[in-house]
Symmetry: C2
Subunit: 464 residues, 2 copies
């Protein structure tokens, strides 16, 4: 036991370069779970993580998906009976890399430039999750034991909405995964040097609309005017999802279950040092725009959204093709907030789209996957220990909510019934899901050190 963890922190300092090289090896695996072409790479990546855990001194194994998905990687060290158990969650899969031509370095050839490492998955979530594992590895290497018990569950379908982990956690019912807290780093700090505790996550409803018209592509001159053009119809449908003037989503009933922002949230958020003009400039937009009556932070953290993720149909090549296309489609996702319900929103979306479908075409709506929104604890002994561990490295975390979705969090919350700590080491300019994703190495090493401190702090915490 250590009140400063200096022994382990010294080792972390000595072994910086080794950790970086291991991380690079991890980032070289193109574990894109949403694209079947990368199946072998995703599976190889799972095996790589098992080996990482074994090398760290954990008992580790693959847990095959009971539903045809990618395996979970499970690891544990349980040599501290009577002490708390913490479960670390992460994911070893990554987003697709396209548009690949916009990367300054190839997405799967990690490049260290200055104090940053660039690669797909650097921050989301290989780099952050790897920091947990290295903290445990360093402590076991230095001391031969840990002050508390640890478990790891690393999934391979986070970026593709696979339900393997959700089914596993629900069916396991907290047996294998029984713990006193879950620790997840798959998010960004509020600002460089200012960590944040995320106590609210949005849910996600991801829909696809397909509009079908004639049974073949037609000459737009010969047939234009006689039939509904599926792309005109698609645009009419998609264009009616959100009011361009108020920023409100137009699906009837969409806001019925939305929890209004509380006064303490509004005032805490308003006190943050948030520079709208710098934010706008960094994104390169002519102006920020969103739902009327809310600030930018409130829009992204507390209010539900509806974004077109992709739209496609007809001719997209060089020059002009005078075609009246047979079909078109769009991918549309909605970020949900408490107490919206995923299934209800999927139903309302589908009914609304069908109700506004123009005459003369067939409209099909399908659901890709989703997750429920969640609100988490903002106080208690485990939360306090984690806040203190972060403060040991940086400063005390601020309490924030987050526009992103981590579908498994609501399942953990309901099945395990323990505090869930969302404390990330990323930054808002990490370009996750975009070209040139990166992780600041200062945050990578800081994350390792924070988890080292967390383990030592939890050893003396009365968790319940």
């Amino acid at each position: 036991m250590s009140t400063t963890s200096q022994d382990v922190l010294d080792r972390v300092e000595r072994e910086r370069q080794d950790y970086l090289e291991e991380l690079e090896e991890y980032l070289r695996i193109p574990s894109i779970s949403t694209d079947p072409a990368f199946k072998d790479d995703v599976l190889r990546c799972a095996g790589f993580v098992v080996d990482l855990m074994k090398d760290a001194g954990l008992e580790a194994r693959l847990i095959d998906s009971a539903h045809g998905g990618y395996p979970l990687v499970y690891g544990e060290w349980s040599g501290a009976p009577g002490k708390p158990t913490i479960l670390f969650y992460g994911h070893y899969d990554v987003q697709p890399a396209d548009p690949i031509e916009l990367w300054e370095h190839p997405p799967f050839e990690p490049a260290v430039v200055g104090d940053r490492i660039y690669a797909r998955g650097a921050t989301d979530d290989k780099g952050q999750s790897f920091a947990h594992l290295k903290a445990v590895a360093a402590m076991l290497a230095e001391r031969g034991s840990l002050p508390i018990n640890v478990k790891f569950i690393i999934e391979g379908e986070e970026e593709s909405g696979g339900e393997t982990i959700d089914h596993f956690v629900s069916e396991d019912a907290g047996e294998l995964l029984a713990c006193d807290a879950v620790f997840i780093s798959d998010s960004a700090m509020y600002a460089p040097g200012q960590p944040s505790l995320i106590y609210g996550l949005k849910g996600l409803a991801y829909m696809e609309i397909k509009v079908t018209g004639p049974n073949r592509d037609l000459h737009s001159g010969s047939f234009g005017g006689a039939v509904t053009n599926p792309l005109n119809a698609l645009a009419q449908i998609v264009g009616q999802l959100r009011d361009a003037k108020t920023g409100r989503i137009l699906i009837p009933g969409f806001y019925d279950d939305v929890l209004e922002i509380e006064d303490w949230e509004r005032s805490e958020f308003a006190a943050f040092d948030f520079d709208e003009e710098a934010y706008r400039g960094e994104l390169g937009v002519p102006e920020l725009f969103g739902e009327e009556g809310y600030t930018t932070l409130e829009r992204t953290w507390v209010r539900p959204t509806c974004d077109v993720n992709g739209i496609f149909g007809g001719y997209a090549g060089h020059g002009a093709k005078t075609v009246l296309p047979a079909w078109g489609g769009a991918k549309v996702s909605m970020r949900l907030v408490p107490d919206q319900d995923l299934e209800k929103i999927e139903r309302l979306f589908t009914e609304y789209v069908q109700s506004i479908a123009p005459q003369g075409v067939e409209v099909e709506v399908t659901s890709h996957h989703g997750g429920q929104p969640v609100l988490l604890a903002t106080e208690g002994p485990v939360v306090d220990a984690a806040m203190a561990a972060m403060e040991d490295i940086w400063q005390r975390p601020v309490r924030v909510r987050e526009g992103g979705s981590i579908p498994i969090v609501s399942t953990f919350s309901s099945v395990l019934g323990v505090p869930i700590l969302l404390l990330g080491f990323g930054l808002s300019d990490d370009c996750l899901h975009s070209p040139n994703e990166k992780l600041d190495l200062g945050n990578f090493y800081g994350g390792i050190r924070a988890v080292v401190r967390l383990l030592d702090r939890l050893a003396t915490t009365q968790v319940s």
Copy 2:
């Protein structure tokens, strides 16, 4: 001179197979003018047409584009001084073949199945234009001379909106191309066995909209709600081009110069044997839909249209990607009718799109190319001779208008000041611009015979 042309028609009958094999050779050249990847093929195709003309007994040559485009092919036979001169127009370029996976035979490997030939360009326009040339070739082979003078001008940019021929005709000012009539077969008959004289063509305004938001693709969770999503904005713009309920185009001023349908047109069209239910069934749409107050024929022939030809942006691959894309675009074309003006419509479109552009994005509108609408003569000695020649083979053509655009026709009309005869050999199910384009061989040979008859008939026609 022949009142029946039997000598030449007999030769055409004997040489059917040779003509077919030559046509197949022509169709094998993928002369896709809109895609720079096919540049060598387009140029090779121009040379092929020169050789065809020389083999037929014409003086033929390439006329290089003065504007960096593809060359024109010019051919003539002027051995009948004092007799009329007819100018045949056609194009040797073709549409792109995508979506290529829907072709039952490869698009550039012509397949004769029963009484049809399948290939890209079979009807549009290689097959039809080639019929003109073979009629002249057969007559010259049989008689050693023609009863009138002929000229050919075959261009290579019809499908890509290139302006080489337009500039050439305008600058030539009717010197080289001086003639008594222009004959064009780049259209369909009204029905099998029922030819049609097209006396009205639509113009074309082909626009592209690009909507740009953030300077990179963003995570739709982290940034959703804070900025205008370019794809939501694009759909809102495109969705407001046409009223989904009335079928009316919503661009202010769009209809200002539209000539209303005349009573004689309405009654002639209404008398046609047009089976709406069969037409609907053949297109595979749940119902026909178009501008209120007009029949399907009127919508396609007499009323202007606005069709989305392509829409694109964000993620279009497998599964789900939670991206808020940096940009999106759409190709939108409008078919114009007399007396709409191309430049005015392009301006109205651009102003309207800018006026409805949502906040928070940049919208750019560009114009690809276009053509003016045109109305042509429906009577006179040349029209009569052509109608009679068609009647010799099939029956008397009906007078129709057409939704398609042949931009050069309005230029011919204004520069040459002579009747322009639009008499096609295609059929409405030829799938031009679609997979599995075809030409009925009966119409191919019928077209050759009709042109043979036209030449003999014009020899005794007082053209002016």
